[in-house]
């Protein structure tokens, strides 16, 4: 798969996601970000690859290690923070985005990451996810989507395909699944991307772009669960099938796949997009990916090309990245505007005395 450098977004004036986080000149390696805890995922789990990619990517940010915080909820992937030698909290099911919102709003000098799964983020924590996205709190959410419940041993998840036979659905699931990218775009997300656990290069490039984005970055990572849902992503991983299964999104380039034989065009009747043989249409009719378009409609239309049954086809890459004021920056700005510059403890006490002794008072001698 070919991608252009994703971090060079060409958006003037956009503050980086880590701009206010202290940096270090010390040389860092992946080992510096590896904690002394034994990693306890199942052999062959896709989480190992993502952990490795994150550990080797973090030094690229050049941030002080103590200013990085990883927050997770509950699930296999939520053990992630224990394995990183940064600050971290393994919290409760579904609530990581809310805890991270508190951290990110309280402190502008922290790089805040959320690690979550399809059950954690889209089932029990769905509400927190959509509200974090609409608020645009400055944090990066890594959503490990294995389309199954792993930690509770194999029940279907909100991204499992309809008809899935699991321990809790012996006759097949009758639930309709979420498309996480469509959901995020509908929730006003300012950065939405999708990548794959086994594609280290693409994963790292997406992480870099997500970290550079100021606001909530949602990165859906297709991740294989070898125990309860093995092979869920074989079509996009198998060298024979993946050229036809992956629709790569690169900002500013025409969207083509299947070795350039297929492309996307606008579908006038539905308002969506359709797949066509590139030979059948003039090149200028092929859809050019515009991740920075203020209107998320086209990104949404592209997200609908994700196969909702067995994953035979899916767009991969950055669907959307637009600039929007972040909640935490705006909230801090209000506090700063209300605060008098160099207010020391004595000033604070005096102002507190004035506050509580304000209003209509009377004195008894």
């Amino acid at each position: 798969m070919s991608t252009s450098p994703l971090t060079d977004l060409g958006l003037p004036g956009l503050r980086s996601g880590t701009e206010l986080v202290p940096t270090t000149d010390e040389k860092q390696t992946g080992k510096d970000f590896t904690s002394d805890q034994e990693v306890r995922w199942c052999p062959g789990c896709g989480d190992y690859a993502v952990l490795k990619a994150v550990q080797s990517f973090l030094p690229d940010l050049g941030l002080r290690r103590e200013n990085i915080v990883f927050v997770s909820g509950i699930g296999c992937s939520s053990r992630f923070p224990y394995y990183l030698d940064t600050y971290g909290m393994h919290s409760i099911h579904g609530r990581a985005p809310s805890i991270a919102t508190g951290i990110a709003t309280a402190r502008e000098d922290l790089s805040v990451w959320v690690v979550t799964g399809d059950g954690d983020a889209l089932s029990i924590g769905g509400n927190h996810l959509i509200h974090a996205l609409r608020r645009n709190v400055n944090m990066t959410i890594l959503l490990f989507n294995n389309r199954i419940y792993g930690l509770t041993k194999g029940q279907y998840s909100p991204t499992s395909e309809t008809g899935k036979v699991t321990k809790s659905t012996p006759m097949g699931s009758v639930d309709h699944p979420f498309n996480p990218v469509s959901l995020a775009l509908g929730a006003e997300a300012s950065f939405v991307a999708r990548t794959i656990d086994s594609d280290r290069k693409h994963l790292t490039e997406v992480l870099a772009a997500a970290a550079a984005h100021r606001g909530t970055s949602l990165v859906e990572i297709y991740q294989n669960c070898p125990i309860f849902n093995d092979g869920a992503f074989d079509a996009i991983k198998n060298p024979d099938t993946k050229p036809d299964a992956i629709i790569p999104l690169v900002h500013g380039e025409p969207i083509t796949f299947s070795a350039g034989t297929k492309g996307l065009v606008r579908d006038q009747s539905s308002g969506g997009v359709s797949i066509v043989a590139t030979a059948d249409v003039p090149t200028e009719q092929l859809l050019v990916h515009d991740a920075h378009h203020p209107d998320p409609s086209q990104a949404f239309a592209i997200s609908r090309l994700t196969e909702m049954g067995y994953l035979n086809q899916t767009p991969i890459g950055i669907f959307r990245q637009v600039e929007r004021t972040t909640y935490d920056d705006a909230a801090r700005e209000q506090v700063t505007a209300a605060t008098t510059g160099d207010d020391d403890a004595a000033d604070q006490s005096a102002r507190l005395a004035a506050l509580i002794g304000g209003g209509d008072t009377w004195t008894i001698l």
Binding site: M89, S91, H93, R95, T101, G102, N127, H131, Q334, R351
Partner: protein, 628 residues
């Protein structure tokens, strides 16, 4: 003197009562208020469920309750009369707005005949006044519609009552001028109606006497009138200043706690951040995140919200992070009585989490006391690295009293004592252990992100003692469960002993309460003593852990009466911990306990304990005022 303003929920009775209260406070009387309103913002007009009232009790001496039976009822319509008549004593004054006593309104209120015409009100001193008609006439010059003009009738009523009790009027005219500054017509009409009401009292012969209640004698100091929610919000700001921590409130609006959010959102100049979350859980989650990041995390809610936050509070217990959880209790279960008061969340606060999850509990006893209780909750949370439940209630939240403004020197210093150094091993092997405890408090170190070398991970899984890594070791879990409990128990070392008020030293009965029952219990106890009997009183600020001397105190009395606005939750805890035969006095009517009824309950127990017959005489009558 006890006055109750009652009308439709759209008639502005809360505002009228509040203004009368401010005038009374400015005059220097002691006072206690009791707002009572429906959960619906605008219940069907003229109906009984739509009646809203505001009661204010004021006197020239120290008083403790909003009073049992009003001396004066202002009823703006038939429904207000009917809903409140039962609380009046014979001879009470009733002022009604005759304008609203129409056939239609009488029917809505369930009257077949106009009570103003018959003999049913003969036992009262009734003043039928066309408040609406006179208001409309008084504001004619401002050219308002009849509807807008008649809306000023509450100010006419306020003017009349202000004249009757010699209240100063400047605060109200100033208030109206400010409140309606942007709508000059409405402003002028309200002020004109207020003045017209005053003048009506002065010129008409219907109200022959202008009552005068002299200012009360209170301890020296600067006073202001304050509601519980305002005092609580100020207490949180003070907790932030005293600890040097920025306050972060993560919350979701809920009656009757929302005013704490409203108030704190005004105090960004103190570094206060308020986060209105998507739900109760996100509110507490963000507060926990902020605490982890080194702020003072606070979440405010009522009982249903605490239920939703339970799992997150358990996370704060496990991660041992400071967190103040404010529960302004209301009638339950479920949605219950959102605008009414109750004390039925004590056991939820105590036990409402999975696993052994001890949480300290602090309760204010009066509206002004919400300030000190919030500072105390902050002190415990920060010092002991623990969530603290602060149990206020609807009565405290909306009720008000004169409050002696404390000097900042009186407030405790609170030291967050952030960890900055590694604390285990030495040299190159030195490490930071997040669960290595302080010997005295058993508190763990609080190392905030951004502190180099102290990177660590915490979470909801059981921690190994000291190093804090995940541990499934059976002996470790047993040890950690006991240690978390021991840490909370140890807070008792830092709290004052419970003080017993037993003036004669001969009492055999102790009345023990907590929270907003302080006023009614004190008033009930006074009545019993005035009638010549011995009774002791004590009130708990700390519900978990209890003060260290509580067991000894309980042993010193033959009988212990525990009045509560629940079915006996403190009684249950006392019985379990101290094997004491606590006797409950319990009401869950959504209203404060009544002093007179309590006096009878206390008297009965005193009679049993001393083997005598009890006759409270006039002190058992609701009409008898609480003179000392």
């Amino acid at each position: 003197m006890i006055i109750r303003f009652a009308g439709d929920s759209g008639d502005g009775m809360q505002l009228t009562g509040d203004r009368f209260t401010q005038e009374t406070a400015a005059f220097g009387n002691d006072l206690v208020t009791l707002p009572n309103f429906p959960a619906e913002i605008r219940a069907p007009q003229g109906t009984l469920p739509g009646v809203s009232s505001f009661q204010v009790h004021f006197a020239d001496h120290d008083i403790l309750t909003a009073g049992d039976a009003p001396d004066v009822l202002v009823a703006m319509n038939p429904a207000a009369l009917r809903a409140n008549l039962g609380d009046l004593h014979k001879g009470a004054t009733i002022i009604v707005d005759t304008h609203d006593f129409t056939a239609r309104n009488l029917t809505k209120a369930g009257y077949s005949d106009n009570p103003l015409d018959g003999e049913s009100l003969d036992a009262y001193s009734v003043h039928p006044v066309d408040l609406t008609g006179m208001t409309v006439a008084a504001v004619k010059e401002f050219g308002l519609s009849r509807k807008d003009a008649s809306r000023a009738k509450n100010m006419f009523a306020l003017g009349l009552l202000s004249w009757m009790y010699g209240r100063p009027t400047e605060t109200t005219t100033t208030f109206l001028a400010k409140r309606f500054a942007k709508v000059p017509d409405i402003r002028d009409a309200n002020i004109a109606a207020f003045k017209a009401g005053w003048n009506f009292g002065e010129t008409t012969e219907a109200f022959a006497v202008q009552y005068e209640i002299k200012p009360a004698v209170m301890p020296p100091g600067t006073y202001r009138n304050i509601t519980g929610n305002l005092a609580l919000a100020y207490g949180l700001v003070a907790g932030g200043v005293q600890s040097g921590l920025p306050v972060f409130l993560g919350t979701y609006p809920i009656t009757p706690a929302s005013d704490i959010l409203h108030e704190l959102s005004k105090h960004k100049s103190f570094g206060v951040t308020t986060f209105q979350a998507e739900d109760e859980i996100a509110g507490v989650g963000a507060a926990i995140g902020a605490s982890y990041a080194g702020h003072l995390g606070v979440t405010s809610t009522s009982g249903p919200g605490v239920a939703l936050k339970s799992e997150a509070i358990g996370l704060a217990v496990m991660t041992e992070l400071p967190l103040v959880v404010v529960d302004v209790q209301r009638g339950g279960p479920s949605t219950g009585l959102p605008t009414k008061t109750e004390q039925a969340d004590l056991l939820q606060a105590m036990f409402g989490r999975n696993g052994e999850a001890p949480v300290p509990i602090v309760a204010p006893q009066s509206p002004g006391d919400c300030f000190a209780a919030a500072v105390e909750a902050t002190r415990i949370a920060v010092t002991y690295r623990t969530p603290v439940l602060l149990l206020s209630d609807g009565y405290l939240a909306n009720g008000s009293e004169p409050w002696r403004v404390p000097s900042i020197d009186e407030l405790p210093a609170i030291d967050p004592d952030f960890a900055t150094e590694k604390n285990h091993g030495s040299g190159d092997d030195a490490e930071f252990w997040p669960y290595l405890r302080d010997d005295a408090t058993l508190a763990r170190p609080w190392a905030i992100p951004g502190t180099p070398g102290l990177e660590h991970r915490i979470g909801g899984l059981e921690k190994g003692d000291g190093h804090g890594n995940i541990s499934y070791d059976p002996a470790n879990h047993d040890f950690m469960v006991r240690t978390r409990q021991a840490k909370v128990d140890r807070i008792a070392d830092s709290i004052p002993p419970v003080e017993v008020d037993d003036p004669s030293g001969e009492a055999k009965v102790l009345v023990l309460g907590w929270g907003s029952t302080y006023g009614p219990i004190g008033a009930g106890v006074r009545r019993v003593r005035k009638a010549g009997y011995h009774v002791a009183q004590a009130h708990l600020r700390h519900l978990n852990p209890f003060p260290a001397n509580l067991g000894e105190v309980l042993k010193g009395y033959d009988k212990v009466l525990v009045p509560e606005m629940n079915l006996g939750q403190l009684s249950l805890l006392l019985r379990a911990k101290y094997l004491v035969d606590a006797v409950g006095y319990n009401h869950v009517r959504g209203l404060p306990l009544k002093a007179t009824e309590l006096a009878h309950a206390i008297g009965e127990l005193v009679g049993q304990a001393e083997g005598i017959d009890i006759d409270l005489g006039v002190w058992g009558e609701p009409t008898q005022k609480e003179h000392i």
